[in-house]
């Protein structure tokens, strides 16, 4: 088995009496695009800052390629960070900002200039070397911050909510570019984000965090298909969740009987696109019956909200069902719902 690049073991951090990190154990592989995903206050930023050396964990260890990272001061770590605010030095030109790291490492002037020019080319900022940060657009500043963070060729690049300050159009473009860049430069990226779409679309693996605990580490697909627990299921994508008791064939719920599904636990998760819907009497073996309250066309797919008979979802919201095409159900239509056992997972 390949040794992971970063091994985090039993990491704890406290702010006063609040546990920011609670016994975090995590491996990050070499050359991986790794995302820390969770709502604000879940500890993901504290974890990132611990890796950078701006936060001193109270217990646990972090090893990077066999070296004890916590024993090194921030300025000695082979780790660079792209700050959420970008933290560009306002009194320096783009060139001097990007050249700051190599210059500190004692790289000769001519070599610094060469590397800066090269990395500015990589991020598509050639020609702006003599501008100051105040003369750049948000997207350009973001690229400068990125260039500054990768010019030193760190073992590990940390990105703190790198896209949150950009508007939507630029953001999706940068997502693609970040992914391409990570592939091109071959640096391990650890990105912190609260935007699940961002994490799902960019990351090779994602650690879902809440309350200072890692809930699950998995590929985007596995997170979506087999969430480890109800928190992950609720956080990743849209889901319909029912509470009951697991049985071999599914989840036993009062009044209804058995909802098809697999797994152990007391919550059944079924994704909107896995549910089939038809007018009453239209399905061979319906699971639930209900009434349509709303049907919304959102370009290519239609999301239908159904209030089920004799049962409620965990969130007490209507069941959502996604189908390709245009709306086919009017308000108050009586419908039937069904899903195969393999596409619904029962979790703790």
């Amino acid at each position: 088995m390949i040794e992971p690049l970063v091994t985090i073991r039993g990491l704890c951090a406290h702010y006063g009496s609040v546990k920011a990190l609670d016994n975090i154990t995590l491996d990050i592989r070499d050359n991986e695009f790794f995302a820390l995903l969770g709502p604000s206050g879940c500890g993901k930023t504290t974890l990132l800052r611990s890796l950078a050396g701006f936060e001193a964990p109270t217990a646990g260890t972090i090893y990077l390629a066999g070296d004890d990272l916590l024993a090194m001061p921030a300025n000695r770590r082979p780790v660079n960070m792209m700050f959420q605010s970008y933290a560009l030095f306002p009194h320096m030109t783009v060139e001097r900002n990007v050249g700051y790291g190599p210059a500190r490492a004692g790289v000769p002037r001519a070599e610094v200039a060469r590397r800066v020019a090269e990395v500015l080319e990589t991020v598509g900022l050639a020609g702006l070397a003599n501008r100051r940060p105040s003369q750049l657009s948000g997207g350009q500043r973001q690229r400068v911050a990125l260039a500054r963070a990768i010019v030193n060729r760190p073992r590990l690049l940390l990105l703190d909510e790198p896209l949150s300050a950009l508007d939507r159009n630029v953001r999706s473009q940068m997502q693609t570019e970040l992914k391409r860049l990570q592939h091109d430069v071959g640096i391990t990226f650890v990105i912190v984000t609260h935007d699940q779409e961002e994490a799902l679309s960019m990351a090779d693996r994602i650690a879902v965090m809440s309350h200072g605990v890692v809930q699950q580490v998995a590929t985007p697909e596995d997170l979506y298909r087999s969430p480890a627990n109800r928190h992950v299921a609720e956080f990743i994508g849209r889901s319909n969740i029912f509470e009951g008791e697991a049985e071999p064939r599914g989840l036993r719920v009062p009044n209804i009987g058995i909802l098809p599904g697999h797994g152990e636990g007391s919550y059944l998760v079924v994704r909107p696109e896995d549910i089939r819907i038809a007018p009453r009497g239209g399905l061979p073996s319906p699971v639930l019956t209900g009434t349509v309250v709303d049907s919304q066309f959102s370009g290519g797919t239609t999301v239908t909200s159904v209030i089920p008979d004799n049962i409620e979802t965990l969130s007490r919201q209507p069941i959502s069902v996604t189908q390709p095409g245009f709306p086919t159900f009017a308000h108050n239509t009586a419908v039937e719902l069904a899903w195969p056992s393999h596409s619904a997972v029962i979790v703790a």
Partner: protein, 274 residues
């Protein structure tokens, strides 16, 4: 066109008096005081005579020394206050301005008591055996500089504090992250970005130090004459308004030069606000 009350006020109470003073510089002194409106450049030539040139140069020297010392004390103080935990910051800032609550003259007289031959400083130095003889501290240039530093130190601390406190912590973190140690981070990031505060503080100390005539009189014992004393004496004692005005104009020009420098530096190091 309506110019607004502010402009009227400025015109009446700043522009007109300054222009009046400026106009006096090219006229002769009246025989019994006042001004004879006969054009002359003698006042400027006189200001360049060794006696007055020496006072001008010495005044600039004393004000510069006071500014440098205030900076040396004020920067670390301002930096420390800016780094202090939130609730301590306001307490420390209040401590900086508390001396302003006492009358200026009283505070200067306190320095007379401190520095005199039988004063506290000498008592301590001799009493503790560090020195055998009492030092002449009062009525020296050093006493004048000390007094100016003491009086204007808060004016140095405040603008520096403001510019250091405004600095994003992440800038220092970014510097460390890019491999800079604490000294390098200070020299390359913190100091340049707090330069507008340093310049502002230095001007706030230098300008009133240069024009001050109370401190040189009380702590310098009249032996150390500064340009402020000279200007006052020309107007009030010698009753030579044109020459007093000339000396005042020279100061004003000097200070305008400083402000120009400040605005250049501030613009160059302006932290972006986006």
């Amino acid at each position: 066109m309506f110019l607004g009350p502010g402009l009227v006020f400025i015109t009446l109470f700043v522009a007109v008096p300054v222009l009046l003073v400026v106009s006096y510089t090219v006229f002769l002194r009246g025989r019994f005081g006042g001004v004879d409106y006969i054009f002359t450049l003698d006042n400027f030539l006189r200001a360049w005579e060794p006696t007055y040139r020496k006072v001008l140069v010495e005044s600039v020297g004393i004000a510069a020394a006071a500014t440098a010392i205030a900076l040396a004390i004020g920067y670390p103080a301002a930096y420390a206050i800016a780094q202090a935990p939130g609730r301590w910051r306001n307490v420390l800032l209040v401590a900086v301005v508390i001396p302003f609550w006492t009358n200026f003259l009283i505070r200067i007289y306190a320095w007379v008591i401190l520095l005199s031959n039988q004063g506290v400083v000498n008592d301590v130095l001799v009493g503790s055996g560090i020195l055998n003889e009492r030092l002449t501290l009062l009525y020296t240039k050093g006493a004048v500089v000390a007094g100016l530093v003491y009086v204007y130190l808060p004016l140095m601390i405040m603008p520096i504090y403001a510019s250091v406190a405004r600095l994003d912590v992440e800038l220092r973190e970014a510097s460390a992250n890019l491999g800079a140690n604490k000294v390098t981070t200070f020299l390359r990031v913190t100091l340049p970005l707090s330069l507008p505060g340093v310049i502002a503080g230095s001007i706030f100390v230098f300008v009133p130090s240069l024009g001050n005539f109370v401190v040189p009189e009380l702590l310098g014992g009249g032996k150390t004459v500064m340009v402020g004393n000279l200007v006052r004496d020309q107007f009030l004692k010698a009753r030579d308004w044109p020459f007093g005005a000339t000396l005042a104009l020279i100061m004003i020009v000097l200070l305008f030069g400083l402000f120009a420098l400040q605005s250049i530096v501030s613009r160059r190091f302006a932290t972006e606000v986006s």
